[in-house]
């Protein structure tokens, strides 16, 4: 059972990282578009 929680934690951390990266990229592109 602990294996499931471990996989859940890894997947969730991976998604939060990807989401934060996409947000950062979106902001950066918007800034470049406005320049």
């Amino acid at each position: 059972m602990s294996g499931i929680y471990y996989t859940l934690a890894v997947t969730l951390v991976g998604w939060i990282g990807l989401f934060a990266y996409l947000l950062r990229l979106d902001r950066r592109i918007s800034d470049l578009e406005n320049d």
């Binding site: 499931i4 997947t11 998604w15 996409l22 947000l23 979106d26 592109i29 918007s30 470049l32």
Partner: protein, 290 residues
């Protein structure tokens, strides 16, 4: 200290983030273990299946833009609205292929006819062939990314179920051929320097790949003689419980949101590059090649 950007992000993008977070939690904590699977292994389906579906949608999206490109490139100029004659042709084509879709293999011509109509519609909205080519590439890139992720997750599933990452199962072989098919698309693009020539060759190749792709995904692995171990059509046969269905469809919706967001980001980056190339401050073409 770095200055914080004041740009606002569209609220639906935060919704995609929260939605996918909830899907991940539900996949592990809400849905139970599936029958006939190694306990826990079935949860990868919530990510593997939407990735494979998104790859298919992305490749078809790329094909619609390739079709639109060929139409606009053939007849450059202003936007061309769809004529009455064309509407009649498309109606007959859609109706005819819809009748064929009574048989499973007959659904492919119907989907291709829908793509043809969408491609023509895109051509009526966009007069710039450069932008259509860019959109086609963006969608193909995302398709290849999702296809690669579906292959990796499928391989992990195979390791858990059959104790081997790669079994040369018909499904595994067909997805590998698909990866090579679209890998060759990018190989072709990188081998031609002239922009117009590259875009035209890539669009024609894209049509070929888009027609072959559904046969690799939907037909080849289902040929009975090939005896694939891949679990097929569980939802159609009613073998999926309600909790599984809810999480799977929610995941698919989340992946659609991710695809739209990533497509927009890639397109905006490409448009910025185009703007930079057109800028008077941009270096001459010869210098850029070096």
């Amino acid at each position: 200290m770095k200055k914080r950007s004041g740009t606002r992000i569209a609220p639906w993008k935060y919704l995609v983030g929260a939605w996918m977070g909830a899907v991940i939690l539900a996949a592990f904590l809400y849905a139970g273990d599936a029958m006939n699977f190694v306990p826990g292994a079935s949860r990868i389906i919530f990510f593997h299946v939407p990735m494979a579906i998104m790859a298919t949608i992305a490749f078809w999206t790329s094909m619609t833009y390739a079709l639109a490109y060929l139409y606009v490139y053939r007849e450059p100029g202003e936007r061309r609205p769809i004529t009455g004659r064309e509407w009649i042709f498309f109606s007959v084509l859609l109706l005819g292929t819809l009748l064929l879709s009574r048989w499973p293999i007959g659904r492919i011509p119907f989907v291709l006819a829908v793509i043809l109509v969408i491609g023509r519609y895109q051509a009526s909205r966009e007069a710039s062939w450069e932008r259509l080519d860019l959109k086609s590439v963006c969608a193909a890139e995302l398709g290849l990314l999702f296809c690669l992720l579906a292959t990796i997750t499928g391989s992990i599933f195979a390791k858990i179920m059959w104790n081997s990452f790669w079994n040369w199962d018909p499904r595994e072989t067909s997805i590998l051929v698909l990866l090579l098919l679209y890998g060759a698309y990018f190989g072709l693009r990188s081998s031609v320097e002239d922009e117009e020539r590259r875009a035209t060759l890539a669009a024609v190749y894209n049509l070929f790949a888009g027609i072959v792709m559904p046969f690799l995904i939907f037909v080849v692995p289902r040929i009975p003689a090939l005896q694939s171990s891949h679990p097929e059509d569980i939802w159609k046969s009613g073998g999926m419980s309600a909790d599984y269905r809810v999480v799977l469809y929610s995941s698919l919706l989340g992946f659609v949101g991710m695809f739209v967001w990533m497509f927009q980001l890639r397109l905006r980056t490409g448009l910025l590059e185009m703007r930079q190339d057109e800028s008077p401050l941009a270096p001459p073409a010869e210098e850029k090649v070096k």
